[in-house]
Symmetry: D2
Subunit: 351 residues, 4 copies
């Protein structure tokens, strides 16, 4: 059955797989000291325009968030995020597992608001009992957000200003970073984003890899002993080549478009598919729950119709809307084809 | 300078002190196996009408919350509370320190609402991705709350029903329990409360002791190896007699009123003082921020007047109200005297 | 340069890779609910002769140890192991990261001794202050050990007896399980091992996979909410197919020998190579540091010779032996060839 | 029944109690900001000859160790100690509770040996896989040790040298510090000890207080946000006066000897009693298990005699010696009297 359930229900992008196959017979150093990891790091540094960046390859998103956040924070510090933040909702308490409070501010369409952040820090700083509270130690944002929305340049700049003022490192969870940067509405680039944050990760799992997230400390500012921190979090791959080779492929020139790297070109394809999907959903008279320019689309669906459609395709029940409607999520990915869209059109028109 | 800042800025109640002095020369077993701890436990069991209760004496409130909650929860579980709950705000992340998420629901005048709790559990239970979340493992409420308000019998019964339905242990933080139970509005007793919850603690520090909180598992239902859990949290007193003797005194018949125990009679005195204080604040044209029947009173104070009054007495800035007003907290305790109230009256009338 | 440094410096076994390629274009459910994970679980249950086993695929060894141990233990419990145990030495404190003490007993050639274990538990159980100690909550052994040695049937039976007597779950770290079971000296089978332990993991990373460890709870006795525990440890693969497909391949009939599964046949090959390697090292007059029947061989090497040899091949400095000698480790794997052995013979005869 | 079981089975020293009584009626600031805590800190700074020392009062020993160690270490670091160290044996895993490994070296009569420490650090520093291990982050010693022995000046100096060389903070657990410093054999003073270590605590619970340990960072080098760290560990007393008043009394001039403070004079009394006890045990033909110059004495007792004696007095079974003998511990304290010794003499001569 056709599925619009997620952007990680396929295997690897063929080019990524090709590189895994092609290198398979070669021996290498372990734990990320292999030649492909080195090469991938060089390429990412170049694309980020951060020659001094320290880069680490981890396996999955929750693991990456827990490891980076625990690496940056002191034991008594917490991480500030929007209450819809992945670390607050869907990571099974992985941040708290290493002893840190997740300090939530209201979500604005999935985004953290700089004004909220400033107000929180102002009140906190003047609070007589602030030493009785978990100390805010960093800020976490997702780009794009869990609701498919994206930050604008101006949003991030103002968050950055507050961070700078209060000495809070800024960490960008880019599990779907490619889909965010390639959205029509996105008004900044990866190199610019690197100038604004203290750490970010470039998600591979959802953008063409079998697994793997590339953590970037743009200014060479990795926490001390970050290798040990990774190991302590069970996040160190013995065969580091597995992630190294994949990111080396993803950050090589795109076969289709030599002006960009594979990571961006396949993300852009997903956006093109998402644009057609948005049109189809709209034509099917499904109102949007939120206005998303990325590869996740949320519509308000009558429950009857939802149950009908589910016999023919897969998508996600996001949350109840009211007694008779449900918010449903439809996702495209690098692997979505025009044929998939044709089939979606057909099904939506019929049911 | 006279102080209405807190209910723990005095020494011990004279009767508590007398017992410490009187027993000082006697040797005893250590770690809570002394005769006074035994005696205190017997008396508390009797007052609670829980002959099978397991009782432990710990030193302070945050410590008690962290130890009990960690003792009850499995590693992957979180504790549900109102967002104003002490464990969420003023315990420096002590719950997260042992790996547990604090799962917050909206506060209703400091209280957790049974309907909110039910809705949360219903949604959680039906959420397809619930295995990706911290599992709700228990419910925490404060009686009285951080805002001085109290639960009604009906409130607790309905919370209990939800807890029973979803197999969530219910834990009552009674740091100021005496002041809550002795409030005019309170429509239940300690024995009744013991029938509703799985664990509670009877606060000593704020009700006449130098330190000490009595943890009660009413049905003999202490977590396995709770002694080791206490020690592991650094919460085991070598000289357990220190808390044993104090609770033995607090749960002995009140010298002033043989029909009740000292703990209740001194708490009732604080309530009487609070009632007079409420009248004085009201006569001083200070609007109440919240309607509290206990020993903590919150008024909205013009900042000018606040600064004036602060030259003559101490009270707490709770939070900013607006640009020109501050919510201020005034507290009575077992140690508050009529003379203190006269002085308050005088100062309020003058400034 | 030829390398005998580890059994994880190659890519995947060709058959494993073939299956990854062959399935790459198919969509699947995520988080381990894909068809290949299901199939792999069925096959492993069959090979283990444990029809009720609960099986989970994790990514790496340290992660697996931390997740399983945290899943089995209560917060206040520790895990008993030999002091050479991987969890005690080379996992960067990952067990302590989730709050558990590693309780060490003396290593006997890498092995835990049942008599030591019994004595420890006897003393502990009679120790008056045992409630002041981390409670022993499970036993961890490695098969084969970090030194390449293996347990005999009788060893494990007696450890099991002590475990049963003291209600300690027994967990077998099988990062190199295949190499242990296929050793000439091994006098038990995987199904038998499953009858003796409460949990074990079948290592994939070091036996032909790109990554992946299969956790087996032989009696369907996975800890409650183990899925959430995995997620909380950052150990849940979004594309669970990655490990599912690989274990499906490893537990399919071996192309070379239909009487066994690939996992065992490639492990047996490594043992055959190790036997030849042992002969070569011996002929090169290198005394053995320990008598290992598996794919890891430890020899005592004069430092001069070591530095010479290092110009021509890679192996591991295990630990200093004395001022002039070093213990060196040579490892074979499923990927080691007769040609590699010829080259080793040549190099050893020359330098 | 007379007891030589511990040095914490009495109440407070009368002078300490007198000060608690005398100050009881006065109001004070909370959380350690009271006048007596200030005064006690001044006095301790003076006695330590550390005008810049940061000082904090905590409640008990395990709590203090866990809080200080967690405060000093980074998340991925462990603490080095002798394998007999209290933190390794009798604290229920409180150090691991906050995520840190206890890294043990062999005990030499309860002491850590500088040569062992140096060797460990040399090997660790050159270990190729050291980034896969918990990083050694500080050194913990007890003075006196759990076996009543004491370090000599030279011992500590050489440990300090290794610490300095490898940038390891040195922390002295002084739960019984008074008894160590007042021992005949002790060849250094508290001010000298302060020059050698980065943190120490002066134990009150076992030296005349009802509870309380004074943490001293001699060079004003408390970890950042140590107040919050204390709170997060549940170690912050609301009525900080309780420990402040007691330490103010203990560090006031001794009523018996104006040349020293009460803390030292009462510790010296315990040593005098221990010297007579040593004589009595020796005359009773009980061989010593270890040669201790402090208030804890360990003898090897035939089990028969032990059971006899236990009908008349209390002492501790330390550990089995052989089938027929047990190591028993006898302890004096500030509260031990000549009459107690007379009774001991009488009982030992009779049974």
């Amino acid at each position: 059955m056709i599925s619009f359930e997620s952007d990680y229900n396929n295997g690897a992008h063929p080019e990524v797989l090709r590189r895994l196959v092609e290198t398979n017979d070669r021996q290498s150093l372990t734990y990320g000291f292999d030649e492909w990891s080195d090469s991938a790091k060089r390429k990412i540094r170049e694309v980020c325009q951060c020659p001094k960046a320290s880069i680490y390859f981890l396996v999955g998103g929750t693991q990456t968030n827990a490891t980076v956040i625990d690496g940056i924070l002191q034991s008594y510090e917490g991480v500030i995020c929007a209450d819809t933040g992945h670390i607050n909702v869907h990571e099974s308490g992985a941040i708290e597992q290493s002893g840190h409070k997740v300090i939530t501010l209201p979500s604005h369409q999935g985004k953290l608001d700089a004004a909220d952040l400033r107000r929180f820090m102002e009140v906190f700083t003047h609070d007589e009992s602030r030493e009785h509270e978990a100390q805010p130690g960093m800020v976490y944002i997702t780009m794009p957000t869990e609701l498919g929305t994206i930050y604008k340049k101006r949003d991030i700049e103002t968050i950055r200003q507050v961070c700078t003022e209060y000495e809070l490192p800024l960490f960008v969870d880019g599990a779907r970073l490619g889909y965010g940067l390639m959205a029509d509405d996105c008004d900044f680039t990866l190199p610019w984003l690197c100038t604004q944050c203290d750490a970010l990760y470039i998600g591979g799992t959802k953008v063409g890899a079998l697994c793997g997230e590339a953590v970037v400390f743009p200014h060479g500012n990795a926490p001390r002993h970050f290798f040990t921190i990774i190991k302590r979090h069970g996040a160190l791959l013995a065969k580091g080549r597995l992630t190294g080779i994949q990111f080396d492929a993803l950050f090589s020139p795109s076969p289709d478009n030599p002006n960009t790297v594979l990571y961006f070109s396949i993300a852009r394809h997903a956006i093109d598919m998402a644009k057609r999907m948005t049109l189809l959903l709209s034509e099917a008279h499904l109102p949007f729950f939120i206005d998303s320019p990325t590869n996740q689309q949320f519509v308000i669906m009558p429950n009857d119709r939802m149950h009908h459609l589910e016999s023919y395709m897969q998508f996600t029940h996001w949350e109840p809307y009211d007694e008779e409607h449900t918010v449903c999520r439809f996702v495209t990915s690098w692997a979505t084809t025009e044929a998939d869209m044709d089939q979606l059109a057909e099904l939506l028109s019929r049911y």
